[in-house]
């Protein structure tokens, strides 16, 4: 909560600050300095990230199937080995994701091994649906607290810095290792884009 308040304060005041926990620099533009056009440009870069296979493969619908798609795969198909994450979205009903995707902050170095992050492997909640969904729909979902885990703008920014602290899924998406194609950009650029988009009041394409 303290961190959320800090981020909120920064968004209001305009500042640049590196937090020692996550290693990112929070560069907040002065209030009123970001136009809707700037915000839409930032959104396009955010969309390029969140629509990348590194992200969408685990942002799937209520069928609870992780997907295998992207340049590493010959075609688009559900995760092999008959994997089903269940309503728990962590595989608790049958085989947990963590049986193969262990929790570790060490780099992913082994090609074709089960990737790992510093967070427990799981599907995103089903309402965070990104797989096979157009950009405008994703944009409206991400800015809707009813469908984004109850996050306001500061919460979306904090979501990224928290992930950086944990070396979680967003961090992994930019550095998946072992020959996997990373999402475009990097954590700092993604954070910068999110801050600009939030400062522009989260505009979505028409």
């Amino acid at each position: 909560m303290r961190r959320l308040i800090t981020v909120t304060g920064l968004l209001l005041s305009g500042a640049a600050l590196a937090s020692d926990g996550h290693g990112l620099v929070i560069k907040t533009p002065p209030v009123g300095s970001v136009s809707r056009t700037d915000g839409l440009q930032a959104w396009e870069k955010i969309h390029a990230v969140v629509s990348h296979p590194r992200c969408v493969n685990c942002h799937t619908d209520e069928q609870n199937l992780p997907m295998w798609s992207g340049p590493e795969y010959a075609d688009v198909r559900p995760h092999g080995m008959n994997i089903h994450a269940g309503e728990s979205r962590i595989g608790a009903e049958t085989l947990t994701c963590q049986t193969c995707h262990v929790t570790s902050t060490r780099p992913n170095t082994v090609p074709r091994a089960a990737p790992h992050t510093g967070m427990e492997w799981r599907l995103a909640p089903a309402e965070f649906l990104w797989f096979g969904v157009d950009g405008r729909t994703i944009c409206e979902q991400i800015r809707d607290p009813e469908r984004n885990g109850g996050r306001d703008g500061a919460g979306l920014v904090e979501h990224i810095t928290h992930d950086a602290e944990k070396k979680g899924f967003i961090t992994w998406g930019f550095d998946p290792g072992a020959g996997r194609e990373p999402a475009p950009g990097g954590m700092q650029a993604h954070l910068d884009d999110m801050i600009v988009w939030v400062a522009a009041e989260m505009p979505c394409p028409e």
């Binding site: 085989l95 049986t99 262990v102 929790t103 091994a113």
Partner: protein, 152 residues
């Protein structure tokens, strides 16, 4: 570093990024757990960490939290685990290489799902490969073990 395996604490001098499987087999000489693929594609190296099935080839020993159980610690020849007893009853094993991983996966699954459907069993066990194709016997043995654990 200290790790607990089958109720016994061991002090092992290894690099923290060494996979648990290597520690079990090469350091502790617990060779019941098998190396199959090294990339979590086959399930031969399955052990339990605090009762949950984990592919030991994927677990850096430096990140291990919890107690490890291997096939050597699941049951004993005179006191078999229900899954092991069912494996004998159904004569599941052919070459046997994958079987310790299969048994560990099944035992963990039945802890949390004592009355599985065939579809449940297939979902869990599909990630454990058997090149001899003993899958029909595996499924029957899991059902027998489930009934045994339920006291049926």
């Amino acid at each position: 570093m200290k790790i607990t395996v089958n109720g016994e604490m061991h002090d092992v001098a290894v690099a923290p990024d060494m996979p648990l499987l290597w520690v079990l087999r090469d350091e502790l000489k617990l060779t019941g757990t098998k190396y199959g693929c090294g990339i979590a594609q086959c399930g031969a190296c399955t052990v339990h960490i605090d009762g949950v099935a984990v592919r030991s080839c994927q677990m850096p020993v430096g990140d291990l939290e919890g107690e490890v159980t291997t096939i050597e610690g699941l049951g004993q020849p005179q006191v078999l685990h229900a899954v092991q007893a069912a494996w004998v009853e159904h004569q599941v094993a052919q070459c046997g290489y994958c079987q310790s991983g299969q048994i560990m996966a099944a035992a963990s699954f039945l802890d949390t799902n004592p009355d599985p459907t065939d579809a449940d069993i297939d979902r869990v066990m599909s990630a454990n490969l058997c090149r001899c194709g003993t899958y029909p016997r595996i499924r029957e043995a899991v059902k027998t073990a489930a009934a045994s654990l339920r006291g049926a």
